[in-house]
Structures are given as structure tokens and as C-alpha cells.
Amino acid sequence: MDVDPEVPSAPSAASDHVVALDQAVAVIGGFPVLAGATLAVSSGEIVLLSGPNGAGKTSILRLCAGLLPIARGSGSIFGFDLATQRDSIRPRVGLLGHRNGLYGDLTVAENVAFWGSTVGATPDEIGAASARLGVDGRLNDVVVSKLSAGQKRRTSLACLVARRAELWLLDEPHAGLDAAGRDELDTVLRQAVSSGATVLVASHELERAGSLADRVVDVIGGQVHDSGASS
């Protein structure tokens, strides 16, 4: 696949919507964390999921990443069925959750190289991903356990870029970032979208994330209330 090393590649046109959930129900430990969620996200959109704690925002992201099984209803990502084709979905999806998915004893460069290498990224692509998030240079050889929370977040995003994710699922991505880091993140997301990626963001910071998003949908009680209005 020939891709721009600095930004994720565009999703294929396997279906009309990158994300299509129809009355999706997901259950954890007998508790329905999603109770009939319906959501459609088109290619190149940035959609903000807003709502109170425990409303189901993270569960929607985990469902879209193929980490949470769909119990009832239906759903597809890039046209692949969430119930039966999760293995086809996962390589095209990047999830930045509450945890960063980094190895604390490896350096920044080693972490980005590891995640990039899982998809066969070249050293140039890996270096470009680090540079894009500002974790190259003096941070390159610092072990991740010694980084600040914001620097870890940036490193995790660099891994996402190196992995060439086509659907970015971000859970509170601005958390822990300083003002410069937040601006940089917004820039990275806009560039990713301009090259064809799609972004689903869950955030409590409506002012910050809302200005970034094309559309805001409310998640309440495990259901999605999509007014269809632009932010």
C-alpha cells in the first residue's frame, strides 16, 4: 500500500458509512452498556460523542474497535460485520483509550517502531510519525516510564500514526496534554481527516473537542441521540 508517511491512509469505499451501528446492544457482566445504539459516521468526518460518565461513550469506541462483542442489533465498520468480521476491522482501526498501550521500559523510538513494524511501516514512516507528534529529537531515547502524562499521550498518538489507522477512536484525547500539545493534537487530527481518515472522539471537553468536530452526538443511557446538527 502506497501511503503518505505522515498521515494515515484513506479508508476504502467498502460501504457508504465507515461506522454504521443499528440498534446495537452490548453487555458487560450482565449489564447492558449499550442499549440500542444507532450511529452512522461517514468517511472523513470528525464526530464528537458527548455525554455524562457511564453513558456508554467508551463502550461505543470499544465496540467499533472490535473489543466489545455485539449482543443484539447490527453494526459494521468499513462494511465489515462487527459480529463476524472483527479480524478484518481491527488492522484498520486505532484506539486511544484511557490507557496508552505503551511499554514503559522501552524508549519512545522503540515504542513507535514496534507499533509501526506490526503493519510493516518503514523506518522513514516511523520517524515521520514521531516528528509529527513532536516526540522525536531528545525524547526519542527516553524510556516511556520517565515521560510526563502528556508526553506519553503524544507517543501513543505517534504509534497510531505509524500504524496507519484509518478510523481513529479517541477517548478523552486531550487529557493530560498542555496547551501546545492540544493544539498539536487538533492539527494532527485535521490532517489525518484531510487525507481520508475518520475520527470518533469521546470527550467531556465540549468546547475544545466541539470546535474540532463536524458533528456532535449525545450518548445517554447507552443510546445515541444524533440530532444530525453540525457543531
Binding site: A65, G66, L67, D87, I89, R90, P91, V93, G94, L95, G97, H98, R99, N100, G101, L102, Y103, G104, D105, L106, E110, F114, W115, S117, T118, V119, G120, V143, C159, R163
Partner: protein, 229 residues
């Protein structure tokens, strides 16, 4: 990337983390060494120690295996890396083989050190004729232990209380390795007049165990971590 390339990537990542964190050097080896010394105190008679030296080496190895397996999966679960590997669609068979290989390398280092300790502390002799049998025992037993450890480490990675669950699951399963490896090493060392030829049938058992868990573990690892995490 091919399955082998991913497995190599995972193994080199795990070994690099070990080289940097030095858990094997600073925690596991001292723990195993102290265990051997305590056995020496408890069985304070040179003829008894020499007789039971092979069993003590493998008991110390099994206890240390638990520490190594927990460490191997702690690095994956501490910051959600195992979830990230799943989301990235990394082949679970490759993850299993990579982690098992890294674990086997660490176990092999540990076993060599423990054998040297047995020679020094317990006065065990290593006859020249027994070296091939000894080396074969180390290789086959290590493969079996690494396969089982990686399988159950993945299974328990997502559970609360995995520190207590792992020994309860692993120790009964690896009992055949403990028995087979002990008997084979007894033959290699000629402990209690056991003939060298009596050790080779135990190698057969260890080989079957290693192949069964190596192949079965690779197949089961993906579904297990899906359910466990």
C-alpha cells in the same frame, strides 16, 4: 508482515524489555538462588542433597517460571498494550510464539545457572557421557514450560487476582515436566546409579508435552485472550 516476522518482533521486544529492566538478573535469579540455598539448609546431608539435586533444580525452575510469566504479561497489561495488540489485529499465534520464545530464552539462562548452583552447592557430578542427555532435557523441558506458561499467562492476564490464579493453574499442568525432567537429569548425572539409557524415554515424554502445548497453545491463545481481557 508474516507470522514469523511478527513473532520475532514480539520476542525481541520482550527480550529488550528484560535486558533493560533486568528482572531476571535482579529478581528471579536471586530468588532461585535463595531457594537452592534454603533446600541445602533443610536437607543438610551431602548424600541426600546429591540424590535430590535434579528435583530441586526443577522445583526452583518451576517457582521462578511463575515470576517470569507474571512479569511477561504484566508488561502487556500495565498500560493496556495487550488490548492495543488486539485492536491492531496482530496475529495472536505470532504473539504466542514470540512471547513463548522470549520466555524460553530466560528460562534456559535460569536453568543453566541453577545446574551450576547444584554442582557447587550439592556436589552433583556431570559425567561427560551425560551432557547430551542433559542438554536435550533442558531444551525439551524449557519448550514445554514456556508453552504452558505463555498459554496460562495470557489466560489470566485480564483477571483480578491473577497472581494467585496462575500458580493454581500452571503447577498441576507442568507436573509431567517436573517428573520427566527430574528423571532425565538423574540419568544424565547418574544419580543413585541410574543408567544413562533410562533417561531417553523421559525425553520422549517431554517432547510430546512441548509439541502438544506449543501447537495447542498457539491455537487456543487467541480465543483465550479475547475472553480473558
Amino acid at each position: 508482515m508474516s507470522r514469523w516476522q511478527i513473532a520475532r518482533l514480539v520476542a525481541s521486544k520482550d527480550l529488550r524489555i528484560e535486558r533493560r529492566s533486568r528482572v531476571l538478573m535482579n529478581q528471579v535469579l536471586p530468588f532461585a538462588g535463595v531457594t537452592m540455598v534454603m533446600f541445602a539448609f533443610a536437607l543438610d546431608a551431602s548424600n541426600v542433597l546429591e540424590r535430590v539435586a535434579p528435583g530441586l533444580v526443577w522445583l526452583a525452575t518451576l517457582f521462578s517460571l511463575l515470576v517470569l510469566v507474571q512479569r511477561s504479561f504484566a508488561i502487556e497489561s500495565d498500560d493496556g498494550a495487550l488490548d492495543a495488540l488486539r485492536v491492531a489485529g496482530v496475529d495472536p499465534v505470532a504473539i504466542y510464539w514470540g512471547k513463548a520464545f522470549a520466555l524460553a530464552v530466560q528460562l534456559a539462562v535460569l536453568e543453566v545457572v541453577l545446574l551450576i548452583a547444584a554442582v557447587l552447592l550439592y556436589g552433583a557430578d556431570v559425567p561427560l557421557g551425560g551432557i547430551v542427555l542433559l542438554a536435550t532435557t533442558l531444551v525439551t523441558a524449557t519448550c514445554g514450560l514456556a508453552s504452558v506458561g505463555t498459554l496460562y499467562g495470557g489466560l489470566t492476564a485480564g483477571f483480578t487476582g491473577r497472581e494467585t490464579l496462575l500458580p493454581l493453574l500452571v503447577l498441576p499442568v507442568v507436573a509431567p515436566v517436573l517428573i520427566g525432567a527430574t528423571r532425565a537429569v538423574e540419568s544424565a548425572l547418574g544419580t543413585g546409579g541410574v543408567a544413562l539409557s533410562e533417561g531417553w524415554p523421559w525425553i520422549g515424554l517431554l517432547s510430546v508435552f512441548a509439541v502438544a502445548f506449543g501447537a495447542g497453545g498457539a491455537l487456543a491463545f487467541g480465543p483465550l485472550i479475547e475472553e480473558a481481557t
